[in-house]
């Protein structure tokens, strides 16, 4: 321990201390320990603190000196600080006025806190659902209003969004669905071959891709790619009061910002689903030919027998509904962003997680529905 604070003499109820060296930020940790040690066992009624040999003092040192004198005063001793350089007088006066404040207690992670957070989480699911319905209603109202005055629809904005969510997504969607098609076909051939049922892999690829996988992969991609972008865009607009600015100018943010984005998704996702399904069928066919030895002609012929128009329809009907879910969730979460960058991150995460979850739940509902109407 260095000797920034010396105890020089302690006699007859009178304690004499002296400070030395630099009472600055770098030494604050050591100094604090010395000061706390000095004030623990004080019996003196009068304490003199000689600061004459302190070369330098900053806010850290000044506060610690103040804490030292307060510590003595609290123990019933009177203090006298002298020898401090004149330049530091103003600084000492400044810290003398500092009132000890009660720090807000950090909420610890207790068991009850954990249970409470679970409860809050469950309750917030309900709140999210209500917000979802709210947004759906608001969008419907805006849609009706726009239909009455079609010229008020933001066509340019919609085309711009369509470019972002549709056109620019084509390469990655094609690549991923192509690979998924390849993998399904490869796995199918590998396992079906044991039963000598290689050719049925075509049925599996066709039905699986057109009914389920094509639309699911595409919507999950779109949720991660465009849903998150919507949330982040709207969220940062909310943070910077751009949405409030729109409102004050008499614009409806739903009509200006959200409707074009939703329409772009409603147009883009079915097209992407179609393209993605075709790429997956192509990938499946390629693997069947190269890996399974199924000739492309036979693949196509078998595909014709295996799938019907209904198979294709089932997938395509689902696409716009899933697009709607992704869009609404993204916009709800975007508008829920508060002032901080952390909240922007949280809402974007929530947007992607919720929309992927809902897309899969919706897919399950559709599966039951189509099964019961025999499609």
């Amino acid at each position: 321990m260095s000797d920034l604070l010396l105890r020089e003499a302690d006699e007859g109820g009178q304690l004499r201390m002296a400070g030395r060296g630099a009472w600055v930020a770098e030494n604050a940790g050591m100094l604090e320990a010395e000061i706390d040690a000095a004030t623990t066992d004080v019996t003196a009624k009068r304490v003199d603190i000689d600061m004459g040999r302190v070369e330098q003092i900053d806010t850290f040192g000044a506060w610690l000196l103040e804490r030292l004198t307060r510590g003595f005063v609290a123990r019933g001793a009177s203090t006298n600080v002298f020898g401090l350089r004149e330049d530091y007088r103003a600084l000492m006066d400044e810290v003398r006025g500092v009132k000890p404040a009660q720090m807000p207690v950090r909420s610890g992670r207790s068991a009850t806190g954990f249970i409470a957070s679970v409860g809050k989480g469950v309750a917030s699911v309900g709140a999210t659902f209500v917000a979802f319905l709210n947004m759906l209603g608001a969008v419907s109202v805006a849609l009706v209003r726009v239909m009455r005055r079609p010229r008020s629809f933001r066509f340019t904005s919609m085309v711009h969004q369509l470019d972002n969510v549709g056109w620019r997504a084509v390469p990655i969607i094609l690549l991923i669905t192509f690979l998924i098609g390849c993998i399904i076909a490869q796995q199918g051939i590998f396992h079906f071959r044991k039963f000598g049922a290689d050719i049925y892999v075509v049925d599996m690829v066709g039905i699986l891709v057109l009914r389920e996988i094509g639309v699911l992969i595409v919507t999950i991609m779109v949720a991660g790619r465009s849903g998150s972008a919507y949330t982040a865009e709207l969220g940062s607009m909310k943070m910077r009061e751009e949405i409030d600015a729109l409102r004050t100018m008499g614009f409806d943010p739903i009509e200006v910002l959200i409707l074009p984005r939703l329409v772009a998704l409603l147009i883009g996702v079915p097209i992407l689903t179609f393209l993605g399904s075709m790429a997956a069928l192509y990938g499946g066919g390629l693997v069947c030919w190269l890996y399974g030895g199924i000739d492309p002609d036979i693949y196509l012929q078998r595909l014709k027998e295996a799938i019907s128009l209904d198979t294709f329809r089932v997938g395509m009907i689902k696409a716009p509904f899933m697009a709607l879910v992704i869009g609404i969730v993204a916009c709800v979460e975007g508008l829920a962003v508060k002032g901080s960058s952390e909240s922007l991150g949280l809402q974007t995460t929530a947007s992607v997680v919720e929309s992927i979850f809902l897309v899969i739940v919706l897919d399950g509902c559709f599966a039951i529905f189509f099964a019961s109407i025999g499609m």
Binding site: A25, F60, A90, A101, S340, S341, E342
Partner: protein
């Protein structure tokens, strides 16, 4: 460190050239900032005042020239030396630049924690002391930056700039966006802190009142160069057309009264 007129220059900018693409913003700029002074740095909008400030603190690359802070050439300094210098300055950004996901308390403690190992109790006490120095109290400690008013944000940001007791503070338009009373309060706060802590203040500003009341010296940036540096009287006496327009223009009725500092 270079000494001129018996004053010690803590920042020496020599022959500095900064540009973006084909656009040269600062063309062979020289500037000295002396220890313990408040330097007001003025210039037209887009003239490159903030660019000079950001170049000095190392946020923008320079094309040519040297910048010495405390006598150390920052371009030639090692990482450790640079960090040691950075610890000795504080920056108040125009919009405050408080970390939006941290509370006021965490914002102020962030730089201290990074450099020093102190007990939580001392950290908390220091934060209150810093807040009181900038004219706030402990009630804002738990608040997030988005819950603060414009003036409070500036004060908290100033407190954060001062967190490590720097020797130089850079202020980028500290009074912009404040009402005249708030701006006046902020000016006197800067003077008080400057005297109390012995700070050197480099202040980019447009506020003629600030220039009059608190700045020891004024440096003027125009035509990509520092065209003048000196006291208010020098500025008022200058015949340079830009200076005349700036200090004697319609908005500068304030100059009609006697300068507050002799």
């Amino acid at each position: 460190m270079a000494r001129g007129n018996g004053k010690e220059a803590v920042i020496e900018v020599r022959d500095l050239v900064v540009g973006f693409g084909d656009h040269i913003v600062l063309d062979h700029v020289d500037l000295d900032v002396y220890r313990g002074e408040i330097l007001g740095f003025v210039g037209g909008s887009g003239a490159g005042k903030s660019v000079l400030m950001r170049t000095i603190i190392g946020l923008l690359p320079k094309r040519q020239g040297t910048i010495k802070v405390f006598g150390v050439d920052l371009a030639a300094a090692s990482d450790a030396e640079r960090q040691a210098i950075e610890r000795r300055w504080g920056v108040l950004f125009q919009q405050g630049a408080l970390f939006s996901s941290l509370t006021v308390r965490e914002n102020l403690q962030f730089p201290i924690r990074e450099y020093l190992r102190l007990s939580q109790r001392l950290l908390d006490e220091l934060v209150v002391a810093k807040l009181e120095m900038v004219g706030l109290d402990a009630s804002v400690l738990g608040k997030f930056p988005s819950e603060l008013s414009g003036g409070m944000t500036k004060r908290v940001a100033l407190a954060r700039a001062l967190a490590l007791d720097p020797e130089i503070v850079f202020l980028d338009e500290p009074t912009s966006g404040l009402d005249p009373i708030g701006a006046g309060d902020f000016d006197s706060l800067i003077v008080t802190l400057q005297r109390t802590l012995g700070l050197t203040v480099f202040m980019v500003t447009h506020d003629l009142d600030s220039l009059h009341t608190i700045c020891d010296r004024i440096a003027v940036l125009a035509d990509r160069k520092v065209i003048a540096a000196g006291t208010m009287e020098t500025m008022l006496a200058s015949t340079h057309p830009w200076l005349r327009a700036y200090f004697h223009g319609k908005r500068s009725r304030a100059t009609g009264r006697e300068p507050a500092r002799g």
